[in-house]
Symmetry: C2
Subunit: 135 residues, 2 copies
Amino acid sequence: MSVQRRNTKQRALILDAVRNRCDHPTAEDIYLDVRHRDERISRATVYRNLRLLEQTHAITCVKAPGGDRFDLRLDAHCHVVCIECGTVIDATVPYDKAADQSVAQATGFTITSHSTIFEGVCPACQARGQVKAAN
Amino acid sequence: MSVQRRNTKQRALILDAVRNRCDHPTAEDIYLDVRHRDERISRATVYRNLRLLEQTHAITCVKAPGGDRFDLRLDAHCHVVCIECGTVIDATVPYDKAADQSVAQATGFTITSHSTIFEGVCPACQARGQVKAAN
DNA sequence: ATGCTTGCAAACAGTTTGCATCTAA
DNA sequence: TTAGATGCAAACTGTTTGCAAGCAT
């Protein structure tokens, strides 16, 4: 609305890269993907555009250990992250829009959204952990 | 239970520092507080112990832009963070324990907890923002 | 005495920034 | 033509780690 934006080849490639991933890639993942299609793109451009896309609400970022994970924003949903290996998956819990309002009223904040992150250990790491725990 | 721990002066000071703050301090905040009482303590010790206390579940950490914020763990609760200035406050929304179970069943993860972070703009930043928006 | 802990400094990871160059509009 | 965008490299921030010395047990 207020800021001018240009349609650069790089910008398109980056958004495209996020679109084409069903997992929750890190900035580095996106960089590597895009790099595949454009040898000369730099990390700075990827970071700059990811942040831009986030501000535009085209994508969201999930704060996970080892860096932010990005997600094409189709609808609000929760995430589950493995505290061992950092894997992020989507959760099937419904987004509670009413909570935003009640928090806004209680705190005076303007709430734009909320994100729920479940922390735990993924099946793969559980298996690995049980071996270690046997000592 | 399994790991040996020693009661060092530094460890006590760090836990004490977290106890004595009602806000949500960063590791640096804690470092500065403890530094007040022990001239020679190092950042490394603070980071190491905060992480240790987190593993012990004595404290929790909230991932906020600009670094993790620590919180004495009295009971599980949600947080509200200002996307402008980074302030973190507690939210009055009840913790939904049932959600952990349902996510665990749906995903196969072992869920230890979940944290909900509301994002928005705090009253102070709203005021500041309106001035800027007037352009 | 043993080995967990510390302090220091250097290493590290993820991200941001300054600047000259490039390019969409 | 010109302001936004890029690529590069260097800077930065928050955090971790290796190691020798220290101290709780």
